[in-house]
Subunit: 344 residues, 2 copies
Amino acid sequence: MPFEDKKKSRVTLLDVAARANVSRATASLVIRKSPLVGADTRARVEEAMRELGYVYNMGAARLRAERSHTVGVVVPNLTNPFFAELLSGIESVIDAAGMVVILANSGDLAERQDMVMQRMREHGVDGVIICPAAATEPEFLGRMAEWGLPLVQALRHISDDIDYAGVNYAAGMREAVGHLASLGHRRIAFAVHGPVHSAYLERIEGFRDAMFSRGFDPDLIIRVSDQTAQIPGSAHLLFENPDKPTAVVCFNDVIALGLSAGLHDLGLKVGENFSLIGFDDVAEAEVIRPRLTSVSTAPVTIGENAARMLLDRLTDPLLPPRRVVKETQLHIRQSCGPIAGPAL
Amino acid sequence: MPFEDKKKSRVTLLDVAARANVSRATASLVIRKSPLVGADTRARVEEAMRELGYVYNMGAARLRAERSHTVGVVVPNLTNPFFAELLSGIESVIDAAGMVVILANSGDLAERQDMVMQRMREHGVDGVIICPAAATEPEFLGRMAEWGLPLVQALRHISDDIDYAGVNYAAGMREAVGHLASLGHRRIAFAVHGPVHSAYLERIEGFRDAMFSRGFDPDLIIRVSDQTAQIPGSAHLLFENPDKPTAVVCFNDVIALGLSAGLHDLGLKVGENFSLIGFDDVAEAEVIRPRLTSVSTAPVTIGENAARMLLDRLTDPLLPPRRVVKETQLHIRQSCGPIAGPAL
DNA sequence: AAAAGCTTTTAGATCGATCTAAATGGATGG
DNA sequence: CCATCCATTTAGATCGATCTAAAAGCTTTT
């Protein structure tokens, strides 16, 4: 429908301006919705743009204006649905602000993370939302500050001098332990895996804190496989300690699902003679039997928070560093029951 | 360490060139690893870049060179781990090729998809990998062709004239039905949900084809909830048909997991007096009890295939349209057993 | 009628790279 | 010793927008 001129490689602002009988500068103002331009002129230019099938050239605009309408997002791992949800939250807010997301995967490796950030910089992103790789060294942030690149940390944090959008993991863990304690459990294990980072440490801290303050043994921490398929096989670890636990708090729902199966394999009835509580509240929690009691962390919301923080910082770079820490919520289902006879 | 000049806003190629005593053009050649430049000159320029802390400006390069080193990826939904894995595969290949991914979410809405594509175009992506929204109208592709934007369809396809990286869904379904048939099942249901698109139709076709060719009733198709949490509650639908099935093939593993729980709730023993087979082979298949027999579709691999196809097309835009269709693989676990007494 | 104050429009420089086409310098050949 | 060739290097135009500072039209004030 829009009559195309196959000869000319591309319709530019100059073409639009010519057709609308205005200068290129005016046409530019129209695109940017400047209030300086008169109503009739604006209409004429917009008409011309439509007729010519004009496409805005961000690249050219960015070069001059030093703004790319582009945000970098760096996550450790896309395969993990948790990060995918985070990303989803980020994308929706960034998109609504008329910007786009440039995605990168650090593989949770500091070295790759460096490369990826370099690439982001070359692409001229306006800012970056990053879930820092586990072994990120502190100098990393110094370098970022030197670059003057607006940064928001999501889910994990390395520095308090930089915006952070996360979850109150420690409180969530306290909630989990509290729930089990209220059911009469005293010997509670904590099942963990994965790399060590702030979110890891906060969960450990919350667990130990909650256990310690009740006079329970806070050291029943077991480490299960990082491979999802092998977690069920790690269930026996729970009972290698002489002080056999009657319940287990899980670092995340992947572990909880795995241990739920593993405990079942060992002949235990989860929710009856052994209790299990997850963390993250993934969709599957509702779909396994027994239904998994879990502490929700709502990664989509964290993503939205992180994106909003970055947008705020872009409009006002001098904002003091902020922390937006979301509270968790306990979803009670079937996997926890009152303390029964000794396990095994 | 690199001595920064806070006054000057940015180190450009001209600065580098000056310091290395060469022209800007030569410095440009060095960055692009042109073989035209002498070894000693190259070394000098690289040294200068390091000393000045030079950062390549993609935006400027793109303006002149008409190449952005940027690939758009459009998916219907990030929250679905399936698409997240697809994305992961795409990202790894694109990254290895020195390009970056610009991400967008169509929400499976044709209208949003249009907006998103427009935005991709404004950002000057070199090409786009798209999993087309369910209700994409055929004109969409005409418009894309008019734009001359290299395109690859992933997982779903609308046109045979455009590259497509996908899965042989129909064959996978035949495999699933074949497995159940070999265990003696004849009355097999098919549980579906979600929007209608090519991947949906191919699965239906594969199921019906496999049933029909064996002389089984191909019309036992039931539609379950789109909400993960409500799928278990849909299990009773299986038995509303007078011709009660003894097994069910699921459209995907989300449904399989849900029905597995729902059947359990109805007092059936999956794998003993009712058989169930999933599709996609997600990580959880190994972690629920009974372990889920499932047909794997390996979305990461599809993503890699799609990305490679796009890269090929970028180097040679005149390539004829190609189809890369991956075969599925059946993973036999515990959720299917030989036919037993009548269900319920 | 000139000055002042608005609003609206504009010419021309500019962002930082790449491209083209030509220049440079040294080696080789007649 | 000049012509030819090859490998390097380069000046200057160019991509398509935005920015600055000033001009052009208006109306209102003096």
